[in-house]
Symmetry: C2
């Protein structure tokens, strides 16, 4: 990892003695030891050559009498764009494809089963420009656009579920969507971002509407997955509905900058894993993107991480470098934790359904 990178994890690792580190890890990460997995030599080699970080951790579950273990490897990819944003769309996109293909090859070599890319991974996050027409070449079909074509081949080749969050062009109407490609390369379906930010000058509502597809969970070859896209992580009910609909892993692909909430990047997805007892995977892009003559600049802080249904989390990937985070998990842990803690049993959803309906009917008069 870069020595210039002041990540919380590095600051800790480099300054505490072993006993202090254990105690810090126990309180902060939820376990004294991260259960790091050894990587293959070939993975080390390609990650050095192509300059991306790879880290892998394991989460186990208890053996059960009736169910066999359901061990799967999750893969999270964070990356920067490659070319300046004033280059032709095709060149920019192909350069990203080329970069990401190496990371996916490494994931395949490490036997990753379910992989998720970052929000609108195939383009620079131009939504901060407030411009539309000049960037429209980046919007893609979820049926036969360049991203889905590219990733379907890789999914089939590697027997890998791949989740592809893109800017969707649906016959001229845009959506912020995540396409779920099953391990045979076919598209299982898509989820459209439910909650759109409108913060200061930054308004995604200039580009597309909030999702109209509810909270789908996709029954992939390796497990039940859902996608909570970026700003949706601020909404506890968005997380909850994916859980009630049966998700075992919820990915949170994002494009988020330090000025907005780096200190709670580690809180929200982790809280969702604890509250809903599923695995959550926060994925954020890295690098600095510069747009137009005004040199509008946005820097992303990466820090992708995984949390287990019991609240134990991995260290983060780098704040500045491309990376692949692998988590070997036993999906049986979800139900085991539900049975132990009883959050679902004690949820009293009936009273909340009534109270929410009342709030809506009275237009939040108490506020």
């Amino acid at each position: 990892m870069d020595s210039c990178e002041h990540s919380l994890d590095n600051i800790i690792k480099n300054n505490l003695n072993p006993e202090q580190l254990k105690e810090f890890n126990r309180i902060y990460y939820g376990r004294e030891n991260h259960s790091e997995l050894k990587l293959k030599e070939s993975t080390r080699k390609i990650s050095n050559e192509k300059n991306f970080q790879v880290a892998a951790y394991s989460f186990s579950a208890a053996n059960e009498e009736v169910r066999n273990p359901r061990v799967v490897k999750l893969g999270l990819v964070q990356h920067s764009v490659v070319l300046p944003t004033d280059r032709p769309v095709d060149e920019q996109r192909n350069a990203i494809f080329e970069k990401v293909s190496h990371i996916i090859e490494a994931a395949a070599a490490e036997d990753v089963n379910i992989l998720c890319l970052q929000e609108t991974w195939s383009m620079p996050f131009f939504l901060c420009t407030k411009e539309r027409e000049k960037w429209s070449g980046f919007a893609e079909s979820t049926v036969n656009g360049p991203s889905v074509t590219f990733l379907s081949q890789l999914a089939k080749k590697h027997d890998m579920v791949i989740i592809s969050p893109i800017l969707e062009d649906d016959n001229g109407v845009w959506w912020n969507s995540a396409v779920v490609i099953d391990a045979n390369g076919t598209v299982l379906g898509k989820h459209k971002k439910n909650h759109l930010p409108s913060i200061g000058g930054f308004k995604e509502t200039d580009y597309y509407s909030p999702g109209d597809g509810g909270h789908p969970v996709f029954d992939t070859r390796y497990g039940k997955v859902a996608v909570n896209i970026c700003y949706g992580r601020h909404h506890a009910l968005n997380w909850m509905m994916f859980g009630l609909n049966g998700a075992e892993v919820v990915f949170n692909p994002a494009a988020t900058i330090a000025e907005f909430g780096e200190s709670f990047w580690g809180i929200e997805a982790r809280n969702a894993a604890i509250a809903n007892n599923y695995f959550t995977c926060g994925i954020n892009r890295v690098g600095t993107e510069v747009f137009g003559e005004k040199k509008i600049t946005r820097s992303y802080y990466g820090s992708s991480y995984v949390t287990a249904p019991n609240g134990i989390r991995t260290p983060s990937l780098s704040r500045v470098k491309d990376g692949l985070l692998i988590a070997e998990v036993d999906l049986n842990l979800c139900r085991q934790i539900k049975d132990h803690w009883g959050f679902q049993m004690t949820a009293r959803l009936d009273i909340y359904a009534d109270e929410l309906r009342e709030q809506v009917a009275t237009n939040y008069v108490n506020n």
Copy 2:
């Protein structure tokens, strides 16, 4: 603070250089500097004499054109019991009263306006014994029981709102309740714990039922407050309803042990502050309590802390020592953050009211 105390905050403070500490604080706490407030000499003196920690921090808000600042001081008290649990009830309770009276005097001297005690503060947390009759002397009336009588006098004397979470005896029926005493010493009302744990051998349902009073918010002299009692912090909707009902500060008095989730003690109340844009105050008891011939033993880890509506948090109080945590806050920050982030505007509660109702009607068939 005790040198033997391996709190996360102490480990960090004692091992990082100033530059690293700033960066750690920025990412972890949300600001580089904690804005610590200077304590009065008399406060230092009494806290040394009586062996409790005092820490005080400040959270500011922007000036507004229409509203004046609404600066109030919140006080959180964590403490251990005093006498062995086999001593007479009155002796045990009076010893706690005596200890807590010194902490409240210190809070008054520091101009605390709203103070909250820990869950069932006037007794050892005997609920782990599964016994009932032999401890029933600790259950109290919220109208004229010893705790409310004792605290009403202090509230009036110091013009202080005091929240008193106790084991309520309502004509022979028990509840886990928090009594809200306004600054004139009168009882504004009470809240009954909505979600009860039933984890392994520990079942609060052996003692009392889940609350039947919904999500009240109390309009005290200094601001609108609510109480989310202990296990209720695991339920995002519990936090949310207090917010929708107008709370500006939500206290989370608890009695929780390291074996159950010390690593997410810092996550849940903080996430609630972020999601709902109010101040949250997590309060947990300290010390070890031993019960009966079987020597049933429970150790509490303190670590009380405050989070602001923008996610910035204070360091924790000690894991092992009695303490008073003071947060000087401007309540105007709640609406300022709501206006900036837009979580309420983008909450789409209508779709969730429908989806929850449907989940309830179908008995969670997807799960």
